[in-house]
Point group: C2
Chain length 382, copies 2
Amino acid sequence: MNNFIFQNPTKLIFGKDTISSLSSEIPYDKRILITFGGGSVRSNGVYDQLKEALKNHHYIEFWGIEANPDISTIRGAIELGKREKCDYILAVGGGSVIDGSKLIAAGILYDGDPWDIVLKRDWTKEKVLPLASVLTLPATGSEMNSGAVISNREKREKFAFYSKHPIVSVLDPSTTFTLPKHQIACGLADTYIHVMEQYLTTINQSPLMDRWSESILQTIIEIAPKALNGKEDYDAMSTFMLSATMALNGFTSMGVTQDWATHMIGHEITALLGLTHGHTLTIVLPGTMWVLREEKGEKILQYGKRVFGIDGDNKEETIKEIIEKTKNFFKSLGLKIKLSENGGDISTIEEISKRFRERNARYGENRSVNSEIAKEILLHVL
Amino acid sequence: MNNFIFQNPTKLIFGKDTISSLSSEIPYDKRILITFGGGSVRSNGVYDQLKEALKNHHYIEFWGIEANPDISTIRGAIELGKREKCDYILAVGGGSVIDGSKLIAAGILYDGDPWDIVLKRDWTKEKVLPLASVLTLPATGSEMNSGAVISNREKREKFAFYSKHPIVSVLDPSTTFTLPKHQIACGLADTYIHVMEQYLTTINQSPLMDRWSESILQTIIEIAPKALNGKEDYDAMSTFMLSATMALNGFTSMGVTQDWATHMIGHEITALLGLTHGHTLTIVLPGTMWVLREEKGEKILQYGKRVFGIDGDNKEETIKEIIEKTKNFFKSLGLKIKLSENGGDISTIEEISKRFRERNARYGENRSVNSEIAKEILLHVL
């Protein structure tokens, strides 16, 4: 096991009718900037519960943080927050709203352009405003981690930066009942592949972390059909919501190496084609697994055996079978998982490969995913 | 899944040669009271590393917090801390030292007798001094939770109370290399049964929490022989140390009910016979499982199947087999697991039953463990 430092101070308030708890969680003397995505929270009751909870607080609203939050939108929110002297941010929505709000919380206390913060990457030591969140779409884990991914559509770029954890996050699984099926599918995929990025690395680093990762994978596979069936299944949605948060809050990565090459390629697909983040990962992961089967082989076999019960004599054939099973799970979510089925073609691959070359990219656990390997991965899933 | 609130702010610094990190973790302007158990840290190098790390800090030392920390010892430490105007506590040792130090951290800021704090039980809202810890014996999880158990030998009592989490805990697995085999055995048992108290309850509350609990059980069974073999096995001891912390820090109990009846009976055995805490649990648990096989049956079957691979047609016979397997694991740790093998007899049972009756005890998930059931449990394991 590697040495590590773990700390996750976020207070999680989880369950039915918990949005009302914000009335006591947020101090009354704060000037809150509430940030929203589109208008879905107006129709699913979240907005009304929020207004009731904060009826004795001072707040202003900022609407319109889009999926893959764009720096231009965030600039607008920061301007508003500065003008209104806001000193507390409350993000209401999915991972995009929370990610964007992490940059807002940092940007209001920063004099320059917020894109500097994203490019700086590590903002963990800087002053930021306190941030709370109400999660309505389980997927990214942003509600209980310090990371955020921001897009710059003008430059067709998308980068992650790290700031502070939310102080408190409220997760009411019943707020997910009105989600479109495709968003649930992408959230399930995102959760699954967050785990894979922390798990599919060198074997025998930590037997406990391995099992905790496999637990999330098994649980997501188990509840996916129920989460997607369109009925108001509280048990399934609460398990999904808890799993998504636990998949990227540091709980499964203590003392182990991580990968994230699939994400780095996936971010480029979103930047170029506009696909939902979780969906891009289902396209890339099977390629990563196949192309990196030499370095990841032993862990792929462990994954196949423990998660799918697949065991075989021929290593290469068994790995193929495990990848096929993984692809079938993604397809069962209703996702088309070939690049060409989603608007991509050889020029997409050439562009991503060019970008990786220009920034001299070396991603993944062993820094082996460079421009050429990324191209090989993408050709495999074209 | 039940509603829940989760928050665990402790910073975990884990790995080789990490004690030196205390030099930057503890502010220089603090007057530290360092609390120790017996002298074992003098011979295993921990004390020297500590002195080096804190050479520019102001500190005084308090030695002699015993296993099952006694209120009279804690009173002495609090007096010293008050006299020396200490405003930071650093606990160095196992769970007993950390537990005792939680009461010291509370008691220095309290005007009355510290036993009041224990009897009050919930001290989470009160002011306490900041507490850091250096863990040298994996077992209780106290390094990353808010609980503590204090004994009152004069009254032959032992109760738990809840205060604040440690600010920071340093866990260097190599500090465990010099532990006596019996202490490692009791630590492994303690870890195992902490999980069981949060797991062996009503089924189908949270599939993820179930799997995370089973993961710790499987991992402890897997590494126990290596942890006990007396060689300096860093991988085994780091896995043991991480598992012990994760077994009682709230990570496996989100949204599920808990039991703790085995602990309540075990505390009485320690109070009466002086047995090590973890050891008492191995005596009681098989009795709890058997006597409560009606209410816990479905979960016992899940446990047996997933942890031991036991599956059978006859429910009662299968439960018997699962309990036997559990007992055999405890015996494999070198522990004698019958009450009568450890100085207990029918009078011990009568006394515990009497105490439960006097305090009108109703312990366990379903409040079914009263004086009579406790007696039945203990008779089963006599």
